[in-house]
């Protein structure tokens, strides 16, 4: 018998909802059978904790006396620039921004020791950061310079807004060249000396609802240790990729745009992160509850690592030159064993997404639901799925006419 979100919420309210994590449900479904498990279980919680570059936040810091218009000037937090193209005291922080005087890759490979992702972590930890600004001054906003400490609790609004998070599956990166390369997939040793993957696999949110049958605009989630919401599909959302018979994408596919109040979040689940030779990024903890509305949803959430496949991609040539192609296909059970075999060569593997922390996210969300502190939502719209006709387009460069 099918369930509704309202029925599940009623059970959560009474403290009677049956909740499993996406890891626990695997054995339970195998033991009870899909039908019985689907009847008994109300919610399966997922989790992921990995680097997600397209993350950011917007702030309103309040008006100074006299007033200042940050737009058109230059504003920094701890010397890292933010974007001010809004009204007077609103600005947007992008997680990968770095200080103007960071040497980048001038001395290769750069360390990228600090950037906005770290500022975000410090703010969420309750620390003071330095807000500096220069402005051009107007009749209504005469102040031209600003230098002050500020903390999260002093701001009017501080809202995380991540435009591409929680990727449904990802590439496995290797390096076919003769020299070490430094990528967003980590340090890759020459001649396939290592292989790096980045997904929580069987615990990952969108791999547990592969056709987005329950996740959509307004879905309430665990975000950065607090409560957040799905804004919609993230940028580059690409549902139309090859899938297994079970519906699981075999390469990067869908993803989420998410938002939430930073004042409720924790530095444990929003971490400043540095990839040598690449740059700064933010590691984000996200957990999505999957309502077990019917047997099909139970089957989706019971997906195992060995049923989730990823493509092994060369990051020395294929990826940077935008040459499509996969060297091999491996599953997450193999990846998590620590070794995969590609073209007859055994390669040690490393994760970039923490499975241990993903498990903790899923467990925390489960605890919240069991304690009656977290309720499920009916999305206003589901995410675009395989029938959406979405095509992921490359950029076609067109020459600019001179003169």
């Amino acid at each position: 018998m099918a369930k509704t979100i309202e029925e599940i919420n009623e059970k959560i309210k009474k403290g009677k909802a049956v909740v499993f994590t996406a890891e626990e449900i695997i054995d339970y479904a195998a033991e009870k059978g899909l039908k019985k498990a689907a009847q008994e279980v109300d919610v399966v919680t997922t989790g992921t904790f990995g680097p997600m570059c397209s993350s950011g936040a917007y702030f309103n810091v309040g008006h100074s006396k006299p007033r200042i218009k940050l737009g058109g000037g230059k504003t920094t937090l701890n010397d890292v620039p933010v974007y001010t193209g809004f009204a007077a005291v609103d600005f947007f922080l992008g997680a990968t921004a770095m200080p103007d005087d960071d040497p980048r890759n001038k001395i290769f490979p750069g360390k990228f020791a600090y950037g906005e992702a770290y500022v975000l972590e410090e703010l969420v930890a309750g620390k003071d950061v330095k807000l500096s600004a220069t402005a051009y001054g107007t009749d209504c906003y005469p102040k031209k310079t600003l230098e002050t400490y500020i903390s999260l609790k002093e701001m009017n609004e501080a809202i995380l807004l991540n435009i591409r998070n929680a990727y449904q599956n990802y590439n496995v990166a290797v390096n076919l060249s003769e020299k070490v390369i430094y990528t967003y997939m980590g340090v890759l040793q020459p001649k396939m000396g290592n292989a790096n993957y980045c997904s929580a696999g069987q615990l990952s949110p969108l791999l547990n609802d592969p056709y987005y049958k329950t996740i959509g605009i307004g879905t309430r989630i665990f975000l950065g240790g607090g409560i957040g919401y799905v804004v919609g599909s993230g940028t580059q959302h690409n549902p139309g990729v090859k899938r297994t018979d079970g519906g699981v994408p075999k390469m990067p596919a869908g993803n989420l745009c998410v938002t939430g109040d930073l004042k409720m979040m924790s530095p444990k689940w929003l971490r400043g992160t540095s990839y040598t030779g690449y740059g700064v990024t933010l590691t984000v903890g996200i957990g999505v509850p999957i309502p077990i509305l019917d047997e099909e949803m139970l089957r989706f959430t019971a997906v195992r690592d060995e049923e989730i496949f990823a493509q092994v991609v060369d990051y020395s040539e294929s990826y940077p030159q935008s040459i499509p192609g996969s060297i091999a296909e491996v599953n997450y059970k193999q990846l998590k064993s620590g070794r995969i075999t590609v073209q007859g060569k055994e390669i040690p593997t490393s994760g970039l997404s923490s499975y241990l922390k993903a498990r903790e996210v899923a467990k925390t969300l489960k605890d919240w639901i069991e304690a009656g502190k977290f309720f499920l939502t009916q999305p206003a719209e589901l995410l675009p799925s395989v029938d959406s006709g979405i095509v992921f387009k490359p950029l076609k460069e067109r020459p600019i006419k001179k003169g």
């Binding site: 904790f49 990995g50 680097p51 490979p109 020791a113 430094y182 980590g186 340090v187 040793q189 290592n194 292989a195 790096n196 971490r271 992160t273 540095s274 990839y275 040598t276 030779g277 990024t281 590691t283 998590k336 064993s337 620590g338 390669i347 040690p348 593997t349 490393s350 994760g351 970039l352 997404s353 923490s354 499975y355 241990l356 922390k357 498990r359």
Partner: protein, 135 residues
């Protein structure tokens, strides 16, 4: 037989002296040089694995101290900041000695100091600055 991993710091005037060969010939120690950084007129730093009899080891250390070489156990120079580690396992595939290892059941990372040879491969691999080598 004893095995010890140590870091030696040489003052500038000893950089051109054959210290290691004395450890081998006079004190019967088996020396494995794991890392070396010697800057003429400044100082030298060596990471060694020494194997030998207890008496030889003690006498060798005495000799080093007498000529002004500072000795530290290697363990002090390598730090795993557990609070910064997210257990992502990025370091696991590059660590040559399994000093950084992962329990495949919990997927938790651990650091076994005595296996570390201070090769520093984990330093650029760790995105969270959880590994630090004061060398």
């Amino acid at each position: 037989m004893q095995k010890k991993r140590i870091v030696l710091s040489y003052p500038p005037h000893l950089v051109d002296q054959p210290v290691i060969s004395k450890l081998v010939k006079d004190y019967d120690l088996n020396v494995n040089i794991m890392r070396a950084r010697i800057t003429p007129k400044e100082e030298g730093r060596l990471v060694l694995e020494l194997t030998g009899k207890r008496a030889g080891m003690e006498a060798g250390f005495k000799y080093l101290s007498e000529i002004g070489v500072e000795i530290q156990p290697l363990a002090q120079d390598v730090k795993w900041h557990e609070d910064r580690c997210t257990h992502c396992t990025a370091c696991i595939s590059v660590c040559p000695t399994k000093a950084l290892d992962v329990d495949r059941k919990t997927m938790g990372v651990s650091f076994k100091r005595d296996k570390c040879i201070a090769c520093e491969l984990c330093i650029p691999a760790c995105p969270y600055q959880a590994m630090e080598i004061l060398f």
